[in-house]
């Protein structure tokens, strides 16, 4: 207090803010919580403040109108002083916020912080998580490039699958019957006013609950939560072995906050801003739309779900996932808190993390997507044309010209949607190859109408040469049961 200047003392004497905040800052917390494991929440808050600061800056220049948004982003990237850097910080900050928030959620779940009496804190946290994902989706729309346009197309297509109200939902979402100027204004308003307002209110509630109920103590195996005794035991622990939050626990929080901010600043400086990737002109269809990383796992899921489950899972999946998180404290509100005594919870976390990261990894690679320019852009491996007959060479041309390589790879290059053709002759006989090409099947289109008999003959002749040296060709299947009279 002695360090305060006369001006600060003058304000404090009248406003009393320091005196009002002091108890909240110095309140006692269990010594066990002054731990590095407890820094993710404050780090998320720091990233949110960084997003607000950079977001306000970007809005000073960004034009939320469909005909000029793209140009204003290019202006930010190339002309506005530090514009590229603020865009980069906002982008990498959003990535970091989703990641650190996820870590925070996993930590509090494994430490049993969702149990009595902190159920409401958890519920508010789940809502914060949902709002943050909402910010991520709306933010990527504001980039108003081809990814944004087709991402909206995907959002509208999902919404349209809802029974009865599908069309109305699409129109409400897009602000009209089609993705256009009114759509961008809508998403701008939601991203800049609506969700941030909700977020600020929920963060206030979240922090209030943490202060009122006390930070979750480090869970001890065997010390189960009981509604009748928990709060008294917590008070006793704080009384017996408490430390003031500021500065004992807060110094680790402060370091955590600084580390994530510095990491975002560094990533922004090294990798720069993301996009915009191409003018959002829907007549430029030579595009490969991809979502930002937080939605890569969903993107992968959309490609891999069996079609008959798709509509149900697309519509019911997200509300179900959020709903499960929301009811978690009601089904598991008491009992053991320590992860050492909660094997199912630990397995669930591992399983979910593995599923999401595996799907996201697949989403980066997108093996289900045809490689649109493989047929015209990739060379036929030399080994596959050396010493081949004219008919076989003709077949190699057919394979290239009919876009087979958009889905099938040769020599490791080409699409991954269908099997690689390098050793197809060891798997299929001539008759099977002809049948597969003409009739399709197993997720392959039928080419019967699109190939002349001469082309089929040449193509199959070429594919029959496709086997590694020393491996025998496929043999016709033999009927295992000898024919009986």
């Amino acid at each position: 207090m002695k360090l305060l200047g006369p001006a600060a003392r003058w304000i404090e004497e009248r406003a009393g803010i320091g005196a009002a905040l002091a108890p909240a800052l110095t309140h006692a917390v269990p010594r066990s919580t002054a731990s590095w494991w407890y820094v993710f929440g404050s780090a998320t808050l720091a990233l949110f403040m960084l997003q607000i600061a950079t977001g306000i800056c970007l809005a000073l220049v960004y034009v939320p109108a469909a005909d000029q948004a793209y140009q204003s982003l290019e202006y930010l990237n190339y002309q506005a002083p530090f514009g590229w850097y603020l865009r980069a910080v906002h982008f990498w900050g959003s990535n970091a916020m989703v990641m650190v928030m996820t870590l925070h959620m996993i930590q509090v779940f494994l430490f049993g912080a969702h149990k009595y009496p902190r159920e409401l804190t958890w519920i508010v946290g789940v809502l914060l998580f949902a709002c943050t994902l909402g910010m991520a989706f709306t933010g990527q729309i504001l980039r108003w490039d081809q990814d944004a346009y087709w991402g909206l197309g995907i959002g509208a297509s999902i919404a349209a699958r809802s029974p009865v109200i599908g069309e109305a939902v699409v129109h409400a979402l897009l602000g009209g019957p089609i993705i256009a100027g009114r759509t961008l204004s809508r998403f701008f308003s939601v991203h800049v006013f609506l969700i941030p307002g909700i977020l600020i209110g929920l963060i206030g509630l979240h922090l209030w609950l943490v202060l009122r109920l006390g930070i979750n103590e480090w869970p001890m195996p065997g010390r189960a939560v009981d509604r009748d005794t928990y709060r008294q035991r917590y008070e006793e622990e704080v009384h017996r072995d408490g430390v003031p939050f500021f500065p004992v626990a807060a110094r680790k929080d402060m370091i955590g906050m600084a580390v994530v901010i510095l990491a975002v600043l560094a990533a922004a400086a090294v990798f720069g801003p993301h996009g915009p990737r191409g003018v959002p002109d829907p007549t430029i269809i030579d595009t490969v739309p991809r979502p930002d990383f937080y939605f890569l796992s969903l993107f992968a899921l959309f490609a891999l779900l069996p079609p008959w489950t798709e509509t149900v899972l697309l519509l019911a999946g997200p509300p179900l996932a959020i709903g499960l998180l929301l009811i978690l404290p009601f089904v598991a509100g008491t009992g053991e808190k320590s992860w050492r005594r909660r094997p199912v919870s630990v397995l669930a976390v591992i399983l979910i993390v593995l599923i999401v990261t595996t799907l996201a990894g697949l989403g980066v690679k997108a093996p289900w997507s045809p490689v649109m320019n493989a047929w015209s852009g990739l060379p036929t491996p030399v080994a596959y044309v050396l010493g081949r007959t004219p008919l076989e060479l003709q077949g190699a041309l057919v394979l290239q010209n009919k876009q087979c390589r958009n889905c099938h790879s040769l020599g490791g290059e080409g699409g991954l949607r269908g099997p690689a053709l390098d050793d197809v002759a060891t798997r299929m006989t001539r008759d099977q190859l002809i049948h597969q090409v003409l009739q399709g099947g197993g997720n392959m289109p039928a080419y019967g109408k699109n190939l002349s008999p001469a082309e089929v003959t040449a193509l199959v002749a070429f594919m029959q040469t496709m086997r590694p040296a020393g491996e025998p060709p496929a043999r016709p299947p033999v009927d295992p049961v000898p024919p009986t009279r």
Partner: protein, 176 residues
């Protein structure tokens, strides 16, 4: 609440009907004001919903631009455009010309999740870059996740011009 503060409150008495009336009046007036604010706000936000089914006939160009047996890329301008739509006012489609002035006009949006399909005349297939849907030249589903064939626009030929009915994003709930 401290005792001294409480003693300053007026004692509740049955004779305070005027105060009770004022309190209830305050509640009622605010409720009315709230509803009067909510009506235009909700109507405004849901305004676009009422335009359901908004479609109009648009000329795609002379019939002669679309040679028989071929599938051509065509672009039209959204009939409900606003001045600030910019490039998003444009809409793309695929026009397949059949014999006898018969056409098939396909939406560019994949029936799976709306990504833009591309036509490959060599293999006579439409392919989608997002999740790997593929369609035959007549728009029927060939492979991949789409639950149906490509969306087709209603069309007609008038005065040598090909017209389509469009202006709405084609989806499973409103298939063009």
């Amino acid at each position: 609440m401290c005792a001294g503060h409480e003693s300053m409150l007026p004692p509740p008495s049955p004779s305070s009907t005027r105060r009770g009336f004022l309190f209830r009046l305050g509640l009622a007036l605010n409720a009315i004001a709230g509803v009067l604010v909510a009506i235009p706000v909700v109507g405004y936000i849901l305004g676009p919903v009422r335009r359901a089914g908004a479609q109009a006939w648009i000329a795609l160009g002379p019939v002669g631009d679309f040679p028989e047996g071929e599938t051509r890329f065509a672009v039209y301008e959204n009939p409900f455009r606003v001045a600030w739509d910019g490039p998003t006012a444009k809409v793309a489609c695929w026009v397949r010309r059949l014999p006898d002035e018969k056409f098939q006009v396909f939406a560019v949006n994949c029936a799976h999740l709306g990504c833009p399909v591309r036509w490959f005349p060599q293999s006579r297939l439409f392919m989608c870059p997002c999740h790997g849907g593929a369609y035959y030249e007549d728009g029927s589903r060939a492979s991949g996740p789409p639950p149906r064939g490509l969306f087709e626009y209603e069309y007609r030929v008038r005065d040598g011009q090909l017209w389509v009915r469009g202006g709405e994003i084609p989806t499973l709930s409103e298939p063009a």
